[in-house]
């Protein structure tokens, strides 16, 4: 495993992924705001939540980068295209498993079963997070493919 590459480029790739998502959100393509979504686990104030959420996302991105590094080492190959394929799978898992599961642990994300006592500030993401805008799956795929490609380029395979 390329530990040095993982330490540096994990952060770079996650920052890039976050940048793509935020740019799409600010451009009005999606309401999915990953720093906000993660940060509201700690605070309700959107501005503070984004700061906290960015830190959480960097940490999560670093964990995922470890899997990428391990996979490149196991396959004894890397490259932007392999990273992009991993990114595609990563996006699919994020949209179909991770984001829906987040409802179960996120104290401020509502579920479809929420009642009047709910104090959630985030609505349920729905299938493929489509409740956050119809372009959300495309944006998520683009961001994760970019993440994977960056890691594929900069992480050595052995």
């Amino acid at each position: 495993v390329d530990w040095g590459g993982w330490a540096v480029f994990g952060l770079v790739a996650t920052t890039g992924l976050t940048a793509v998502m935020m740019a799409a959100q600010l451009a009005g393509r999606t309401r999915l705001d990953l720093p906000l979504m993660l940060g509201t686990m700690t605070t309700e104030d959107p501005d503070r939540a984004r700061v906290a959420g960015f830190g959480i996302h960097l940490a999560i991105g670093q964990v995922f980068a470890l899997f990428y590094a391990a996979a490149f080492a196991a396959l004894d190959r890397s490259g932007w295209w392999l990273g992009a394929i991993f990114g595609l799978a990563h996006a699919a898992i994020a949209l179909t498993v991770l984001v829906p599961l987040l409802q179960g642990v996120h104290p401020r994300m509502a579920t479809e079963r929420a009642g009047p006592d709910s104090t959630a500030v985030l609505e349920p993401p729905g299938l493929f997070a489509l409740n956050y805008g119809t372009a959300t799956p495309l944006v998520a795929v683009a961001a994760h493919v970019a993440y994977g490609a960056v890691l594929g380029v900069f992480l050595a395979s052995s």
């Binding site: 009005g28 309401r31 104030d45 079963r113 929420a114 009642g115 609505e123």
Partner: protein, 604 residues
């Protein structure tokens, strides 16, 4: 049969995700499952018998003697008297299911006999989708009747009779041995079967929750009507997203036999803003803040433009279509789903939203930085676009025009944004200068082009002599309440738009470009109460409100309109806008004169 029961005779039960309308004979004639905007499982209110229903009631000669909600809850109790006894039906949907092993949709119907054994009758006719099809697969599992079609499945369990689909079942209810029927539903999820005893216990638990919620409502006079309205507003709030649903129904006609039949199962920012005002006035800031949070989330993709309406998930409203073959309520066709108003430009929406943000600020709730940025962006948008014609609050489908109400609300948006900026100590002077210039320009324009000296009143549109009752709301903020222009406008609207008694038309009938007439628009009457209270006619306002409170029927529920000729409720029902206006009217009489906000003057 569609239209067999007067609209105002229906009671509503709900779980804040869906709502069912229950007729006095115990028939659920409207219930979209599992969400407000899904097709009806029982829809005969507008879809005819082909659209299904679910009756639980007496099976012998009986008369309804009492229908009421259990105090401070949303459980509806209907009591029939029979010879030598009585039968009570308690209906409710379980709202709080999160964190518990319960399905999202649990309907509980519980029959209790008193005096003697009473013959009861049950008929379950579920239908699936807008094509009103019966279940594709009907099975029995673990004592439950399971009906499935597509991705929706329902299960019905009873501790009394064996329930079948599309078959009438007669059975006896013994005194002291209530019969409970539980219907659960699941869409794209496994069904969870709920035993009747558990269903009854969950409903009782929910009632405790509603009573606790209602206990801290800060109101003293006319409490029952205010609490019922706030409970209704809460039932019409889609809890998963916080979206306020305008009404749980589609295409209940604005006049029987007419064509003004619209789908209201969507969320309008205007309703959310009125809800904020109503909940704030009633001492419920959490609910008020939740509406603002929903507004900000839903409008994120379109900022700074504020769409007219959203789906429950905050998506753009779907295009309008007509349901072929649906007979409509009392032959009022077409029956529509979707809403064509979604594409309109309505300038007034910004005023409602920014005013709601000001209400929160004025009450000492500091807006989050992000919230303020959005509100300020709305004000910027108004400052840049207020000169354009729009469709107006009444969503008229003709050519856009210059509506006085819209201009007044544009003025309100700019004025309130300036007040919030002052309260926050916002230092962006150039931006505020732009707002001041625009605000003053709107004011000059409205005074010059939207006021008719002959009537001494603000008009509906520039250059016309027609009146618009919606003007009652912003004109009280635009001019001093005791000014000749406000008093003249209130008087002109009372005279010119009177529909008899306490009722008002929203605009002169026959001027909206659609064929046929419509009823008197109930929110306008409640706005008149507020206007009278503010312009010194307090005694008149009190009398008017008391008269209006008699129109809500035994359950104190209000639709959109009332037919002045018959006194019947018409339009989608119950209507959030009407209930929010009722709360504001009642509480405006309770409060002292509204404290004016800070005057904002900046050097040019």
């Amino acid at each position: 049969m569609a239209g067999r029961v007067p609209i105002g005779d229906y009671g509503m039960i709900g779980d804040t995700r869906s709502a069912a309308l229950v007729a006095p004979d115990g028939s659920i004639d409207w219930w979209c499952v599992p969400r407000f905007d899904d097709p009806p499982l029982f829809g005969r209110m507008v879809g005819g018998d082909e659209a299904g229903w679910f009756t639980v009631g007496p099976g012998e000669e009986a008369a309804v003697t009492r229908r009421a909600y259990r105090p401070d809850t949303v459980t509806l109790a209907t009591t029939w008297t029979v010879d030598g006894g009585e039968l009570e039906l308690a209906d409710g949907l379980v709202a709080e299911v999160e964190g518990r092993f319960l399905p999202a949709t649990v309907l509980v119907r519980r029959l209790t006999a008193r005096g003697r054994a009473v013959r009861a009758r049950l008929h379950l006719a579920p239908r699936f989708g807008y094509d009103r099809r019966p279940a594709r697969r009907i099975t029995r599992r673990a004592g439950a009747l399971v009906c499935e079609r597509g991705d929706l499945a329902i299960a019905v369990i009873s501790d009394g009779p064996t329930v079948d689909a599309d078959r009438t079942v007669d059975f006896d209810v013994q005194p002291g041995e209530p019969v409970t029927i539980v219907l659960t539903a699941a869409e794209r999820r496994p069904l969870i079967l709920v035993p009747p005893a558990v269903g009854a216990a969950e409903l009782a638990r929910d009632e405790t929750g509603w009573r606790a919620w209602a206990a801290d409502i800060d109101v003293t006079s006319r409490r029952d009507a205010v609490v019922r309205s706030l409970l209704t507003l809460q039932l019409l709030t889609f809890s998963p997203s916080g979206a306020p649903v305008a009404a749980p129904t589609t295409s209940l006609p604005e006049l029987i036999g007419g064509a003004r039949n619209w789908d209201y199962r969507y969320a309008w920012p205007r309703d959310a803003s009125l809800g904020i005002a109503a909940f704030m006035a009633a001492g419920k800031p959490r609910e008020a803040r939740a509406f603002l949070a929903w507004l900000l989330h839903a409008s994120r993709l379109s900022r700074p433009r504020l769409p007219v309406l959203f789906t429950l998930d905050g998506r753009p409203g779907p295009p309008e279509e007509e349901l072929a073959g649906w007979p409509g309520y009392a032959d009022s066709r077409p029956v529509r789903i979707g809403n064509g108003a979604a594409q309109q430009h309505q300038l007034d929406g910004y005023g409602w939203v920014v005013d709601a943000a000001w209400l929160l600020t004025d009450a000492g709730h500091r807006l989050y930085g992000e919230t303020w940025r959005v509100v300020a962006a709305f004000a910027d948008h108004v400052a840049a676009t207020w000169t354009e014609p729009d469709a107006g609050i009444w969503e008229q489908r003709g050519k856009p025009t210059h509506h006085v109400h819209s201009k007044l609300m544009a003025w309100l948006a700019l004025d309130r944004a300036l007040r919030i900026a002052a309260a926050r100590g916002d230092r962006r002077r150039r931006r505020q200068q732009r707002w001041i210039i625009a605000r003053d320009a709107v004011a000059a324009d409205v005074r010059a082009r939207g006021f008719d000296p002959a009537q001494d009143a603000y008009t509906a549109t520039y250059g016309s002599a027609e009146l618009d009752a919606a003007v009652l709301v912003p004109v009280l903020e635009f001019e001093p309440a005791n000014s000749a222009r406000v008093v003249g406008t209130v008087d002109a609207i009372r005279r010119g738009l009177s529909a008899g008694g306490p009722l008002l038309y929203r605009y002169q009938p026959g001027t909206d470009g659609l064929a046929g007439a419509e009823g008197a628009f109930l929110p306008c009457s409640f706005w008149l109460v507020q206007a009278l209270a503010r312009t010194g006619g307090r005694a008149e306002a009190e009398a008017l409100l008391d008269e209006l409170l008699t129109l809500g029927g035994p359950l104190s529920l209000y639709g959109e309109e009332i037919d002045p000729a018959t006194g019947a409720h018409v339009g989608n029902y119950p209507q959030a806008l009407t209930h929010a206006a009722l709360v504001q009217a009642a509480l405006s009489l309770e409060l002292a004169t509204t404290r004016p906000g800070p005057e904002v003057t900046l050097p040019r």
